[in-house]
């Protein structure tokens, strides 16, 4: 039986971690994810979990300690945001190359500089090529559910990759919303026990981890990572199927909202999808065929599936909550554009960089995007595919 509660996104993530009861958590505080290790150390202090909590002196050490713990044969988890993830960056790559299914709760925040503590996705985008599975969450419920599914995906023998569950800083992490929680015992049953094949603490079979890996082997090892990332897609769907059978909540690679018959589609991630749904509902009332594709699985990127889902729309707007500063459009836009091109389907596309540094994105902003799209549908051309949404243009 699900339990109805009211929790913030951070509480939801911490609650999932408590129910998963990992062997080791190593974390360092950073706004807006600080509450996760705070809540978690309270669970530890009160004996609610069996976890060894390592209060490290930096995020670099947090990920290093997670790597040491996971390689030793444990389930290791951590949480961070923004500059914390930047400081981990070196170890993020090492965690995935060592094929350690560490699970990280990433509460998205703008990476400095200048310093800003509010939400955008520049932290996540900085590690998009690091070999981690990346799940995005629209709200507290999805942050909770994605975390409950994380280990089943990451630890699958065809995958063995680390995984991060993203949610929007403050917007989700600090907003209290209704949530359905699952029973501790049911979570335990669903997540299962972790029995790694090879681990440092097995005195009967000592292993060596993290070699100097030169020209003769590194290429093959990287290709194995790439294969694992491809294999993750099916595993994510299988786990989602089991999750739905248990909780009744459905998850796919992405969510299609009023997409089937729509003329104009917005593609976005995390909490903005909620705002967009509200706008789609209003437009639909007026008979305007607006739709939404909300990315849940950003890595591996479900390229073919997204191209198929968008195949019949007349114009696409991708909302990027991080600017790649490359003069040509941001990361999600490029991923979607590549997917469409490779599928052989030209549909006019436009990129909107929005919400940088926690800039509010309102229903009016989203409605203006659909207005722009209707113009694009009419003309069939895109004048400027790399745009801003919500920027005070007079100041640049």
């Amino acid at each position: 039986m699900s339990i109805r509660e009211r929790l913030s996104g951070n509480e939801a993530a911490a609650t999932a971690m408590k129910q998963i009861n990992p062997d080791v958590v190593a974390a360092f505080p950073i706004t807006p994810s600080t509450e996760i290790p705070q809540y978690f150390s309270t669970f530890v202090a009160n004996g609610a979990v069996d976890t060894e909590f390592v209060a490290v002196e930096s995020e670099h050490s947090a990920m290093s300690a997670c790597i040491g713990a996971e390689a030793a044969g444990c389930r290791a988890m951590t949480a961070t945001s923004a500059n914390g993830l930047s400081l981990m960056w070196e170890m993020i790559y090492i965690a995935s190359s060592l094929r350690l299914p560490i699970v990280l709760s990433l509460v998205n925040r703008a990476v400095s500089g200048p310093l800003n503590i509010h939400c955008d996705h520049s932290d996540a985008m900085g590690v998009r090529d690091a070999g981690w599975i990346m799940l995005f969450s629209e709200n507290n419920q999805e942050a909770y559910d994605n975390t409950l599914m994380a280990h089943r995906i990451a630890e699958h023998e065809n995958v063995l990759l680390p995984l991060m569950v993203c949610q929007d800083g403050f917007i989700t992490s600090h907003s209290i919303e209704n949530i359905e929680l699952e029973e501790d015992s049911e979570v335990k049953k669903f997540v299962g026990e972790y029995h790694p094949k090879h681990y440092l603490l097995n005195e009967k079979e000592p292993i060596a981890v993290g070699p100097l890996d030169l020209q003769a082997y590194l290429f093959e090892h990287k290709a194995q990572q790439a294969e694992a990332m491809k294999a993750a897609k099916d595993v994510i769907l299988d786990v989602a199927k089991d999750f739905e059978a248990w909780t009744g909540r459905h998850y796919g690679l992405f969510e299609s909202y009023m997409l089937d018959d729509c003329d104009m589609a917005i593609v976005c991630m995390n909490s903005t999808a909620g705002t967009t749904k509200a706008v789609v509902n209003e437009l639909r009332k007026k008979g305007i065929k607006a739709g939404l594709l909300k990315i849940r699985v950003y890595r591996p990127f479900p390229s073919e599936e997204i191209a198929a889902a968008l195949a019949n729309v007349k114009a696409i707007a991708v909302l990027d909550k991080a600017d790649s500063l490359n003069g040509m459009g941001s990361a999600l836009f490029q991923d979607v554009a590549s997917s469409m091109y490779v599928s052989g389907n030209y549909i006019p596309m436009v990129d909107y960089v929005y919400g940088i540094g926690g800039r509010d994105t309102t229903t009016n902003d989203i409605a203006s995007v659909y207005d722009d799209l209707s113009e694009i549908v009419k003309t069939g051309t895109v004048q400027n595919p790399y745009r801003y949404l919500g920027l005070r243009k007079e100041e640049i």
């Binding site: 300690a65 713990a69 603490l201 005195e203 981890v209």
Partner: protein, 318 residues
């Protein structure tokens, strides 16, 4: 039982095997081999290694020179990586997920680059958190793996590739950091400075104490580098001896804050004896540079006296 090098070598199999690719005359392999020999045969170890000469020469895929479990992640985080592995052990033991008979010890190796410099924060954090582990710094006094660049462990005036002895600046102009004392400042139960000296007794006994003292412990081990220091490979043990006999590298241990100098040379040799066989100090012997040797001697004397004073003071207090 009293230490006997023959007994140890004959009866305890090496856990750091032949076939590694470290240079002839390098001080680090005997250090690693002897530290690992200090483990009880029945105990398992997880070794963490910072990136550096030792790592890139002992674990080149798919070969490992380590018979125990081994992990390398990056340059600056051997302390943090090993603290994660140790936390895993504590957690799994507490939960009954590891067999009773599993006794695992945790040993990190890092060069002076990975320990004094880029890895100091990670080391300090691991020590402060009290993980039951031993961190061994093999101090060769420069970043040797990348080609002999100065570190904060490089002695004053040494000629390195980033502190070259030039026409205007005669080598490194700063004194070396005293890492063992920084570790003492963490109030660890056991800190020692040692070297592969004489028949390895000092190194072996300190390694054994460090590994089997509960809590975080630290060993700073002199580890000469023939390429960086410029000595003949066969002179490794001589260089170690001169470092100790000149009091450039005093052998001591600090047990719960109390200093014990474990070797006091009957005749303290002048520092030239240590400096002369090494090419990195060659410019100090040019006419007109006598002041450099005097300056070096003064620093050695000051630090040695400071150590004698600390020994007297901490023993009196106890």
């Amino acid at each position: 039982m009293a230490y006997n090098v023959k007994e140890v070598v004959a009866h305890k199999p090496s856990r750091f095997t032949e076939g590694h690719r470290m240079c002839a005359g390098c001080g680090a392999p005997p250090v690693a081999r002897h530290v690992m020999r200090a483990l009880k045969e029945e105990d398992h170890a997880v070794v963490a290694n910072a990136t550096g000469c030792m790592e890139v020469s002992t674990f080149i895929y798919p070969y490992s020179a380590w018979t125990d479990s081994f992990i390398h992640t990056a340059f600056e985080c051997a302390g943090a990586t090993l603290s994660g592995a140790e936390a895993a052990y504590v957690s799994l033991k507490r939960q009954g997920k590891l067999p009773e008979e599993n006794h695992t010890k945790f040993i990190a190796f890092g060069g002076d680059g990975g320990t004094y410099d880029i890895g100091l924060q990670s080391l300090s954090g691991a020590m402060e958190r009290g993980h039951d582990m031993t961190y061994v710094c093999y101090d060769n006094g420069a970043y040797m793996n990348t080609g002999i660049q100065r570190s904060s462990a490089t002695p004053k005036f040494a000629d390195t590739t980033t502190s070259p002895a030039g026409k205007v600046i005669p080598g490194k102009m700063q004194s070396r950091k005293d890492l063992a004392k920084i570790m003492v400042g963490h109030h660890l139960p056991y800190v020692a400075q040692t070297a592969a000296f004489m028949n390895f007794k000092d190194l072996y006994e300190k390694a054994e104490k460090a590994i089997y003292t509960e809590g975080p412990t630290f060993l700073n081990v002199l580890s000469p580098c023939p390429r960086g220091w410029g000595y003949a490979t066969e002179d490794l043990m001589l260089i170690n001896k001169l470092a100790v006999d000149t009091c450039y590298w005093p052998l001591y241990e600090v047990v719960d804050g109390v200093y014990h100098i474990t070797y006091k040379p009957a005749k303290k040799l002048p520092i030239e004896e240590f400096l002369r066989p090494q090419k990195r100090f060659k410019h100090m012997f040019k006419p007109g540079n006598e002041w450099m040797i005097e300056d070096f001697q003064k620093e050695v004397d000051t630090r040695w006296q400071e150590l004698l004073d600390l020994e007297e003071m901490t023993n009196k207090a106890n």
